[in-house]
Symmetry: C2
Subunit: 306 residues, 2 copies
């Protein structure tokens, strides 16, 4: 099965609903409440063996990550996160201590972002721990930032540093909720996404939704120390890790060059923000090297189905 063509097929099975301005295919869906008030909703499933290994994590880290991924989806819309409902499939012989530690990991990050866990479902099986978080957000009178409105000439910007998240960041990342909301409130963003599949793969999602292409500046990509450390083991370059590793959960966004300069000059953010390239008309993604040489990048990233 090809994941993204399946999602496109699903989208085409249904009529648009005037009360659902944003539906399948973005980081969140949005539902009209009254006036300008929108309710945002996102759902994320984390599965043992795919998103975490119980041998390498504490239950609290798994709980934390499950909530953090959904918070990141709301961050990617430039909105506020409010409520979560949580479904957990435990191993049948789970100890109460494990279950409590998992929940406390959720609760700690929920409290940190002022999110309430208001309901859930608990089931069991013999094989796998599975967690699903559905999260509700609100738009605070703002327009949610979708993936589909990047414009030719836009600057491409990214929060934080990229690559090597498997070393630790996929369990410890801080969702960019405050940054996303601040960016949406103070600047005219055109498109935004959170980087879960990898910089190039998620950039491709923006470009495909917007019908545009992009050029990246090789020496402007904020390569993380963990990408460098990982590169020593894998034989890939640190840049490759920054371009293609999944689960960075940084924000990638586009806006006019003028607005991008305002972001850099604003002093609003303690988080690093980098201008890494621009949106262009011709489809595809190219990498401009420091010596001026240009190479085309294949849009590879994490794919669930082989």
């Amino acid at each position: 099965m090809e994941e993204f063509s399946f999602i496109k097929w699903i989208k085409n099975q249904q009529k648009r609903d005037k009360n659902v301005p944003i539906d399948i295919g973005d980081d969140c869906a949005s539902i009209k409440m009254n006036g300008k008030k929108l309710c945002l909703i996102t759902t994320d499933m984390l599965v043992e063996g795919t998103h975490f290994e119980l041998k390498k994590t504490t239950p609290g880290q798994v709980g934390r990550k499950s909530l953090a991924c959904s918070i990141s989806d709301i961050a990617a819309m430039g909105c506020s996160a409010k409520y979560a409902v949580v479904s957990i499939c435990f191993h049948r012989e789970t100890k109460t201590r494990f279950a409590k530690d998992l929940f406390l990991g959720m609760k700690k990050i929920a409290d940190e972002f002022n999110i309430k866990i208001i309901g859930g479902d608990i089931v069991s099986n013999k094989k796998l721990l599975v967690i699903n978080v559905a999260m509700l957000g609100e738009n605070n009178g703002l327009r949610p930032v979708t993936r589909s409105a990047s414009r030719v000439g836009d600057a491409l910007m990214v929060t934080g540093t990229l690559g090597g998240s498997i070393v630790r960041k996929h369990l410890t990342f801080k969702p960019r909720l405050r940054e996303g909301l601040m960016l949406n409130k103070k600047f005219k963003l055109h498109a935004m996404i959170d980087i879960s599949d990898g910089l190039v793969a998620d950039l491709q999602h923006i470009l495909a939704a917007s019908g545009t292409g992009a050029e990246l500046y090789e020496d402007k990509i904020p390569v993380s120390p963990d990408a460098k450390q990982l590169a020593r083991k894998t034989g890939l370059s640190a840049l490759d890790h920054a371009l293609h590793d999944g689960e960075d959960y940084e924000l990638l966004f586009t806006l006019s060059q003028k607005e991008s300069e305002k972001v850099l000059d604003s002093g609003f953010f303690s988080t690093r923000i980098s201008k890494i390239g621009y949106v262009k008309k011709s489809m595809g993604i190219e990498l401009q090297k420091s010596n001026g040489e240009i190479r085309r990048i294949k849009p590879i990233g994490y794919e669930h189905f082989k």
Copy 2:
């Protein structure tokens, strides 16, 4: 782990939120929107091997069931179902045909109840098919019916017939959404729940939440033909199946004796509705046999953790 004491522990970890009149521990949570408008939310996870066997079902039936369970939770509040977001963990080698059939099973029942599927998440693993549906509902100006307000002297009523759902009904049941809404609109209900764990187990949830007990009339329990058929194989009585089998997804509700007579006389329902007992002060559940003899029933039902 003991499931219900864990849920109680979770509930006690958090402060009440004035904007969340109903939170952890009922069929849905509710969130205040504006004025009397409430948003309801429920989440349900279905796991291969626990809730369905792929050898015994079609993908369309699995998809249908995953949505139907959430619709039933909203039915149990006497409210309307509106939107769903769906997370699916497929086997890694899933064929597109299988995935499409699964979705079409969801879509068919969604259309039947005028529910829109507005978002989702697709992941993969090597072992299990897992589906989570989070569903939003609205209260249409009505008070959602909780589990916790049954009163001593209330009549106990139930829709449909009970027991033996494993024969077929757990895959084919029609959620009692219209019945739940009609009951809430036209009659003064005190408490309601959908029967997923079994009549006795779910009655126990109402009684525990309300601090009451109940007496059931043995000859008034609507035993299903499938319960009778199953009893011939299992050696249990058909009544035992009606009392304890899970996944009937009928509505169990309490209301004054006077209101219960109005329900029976109303002619509003094409679905069978039976008065099966009453709420009493002393804790526990008793069964009154047709010969007047009374026996105490142990509150057994489906338990996820052994």
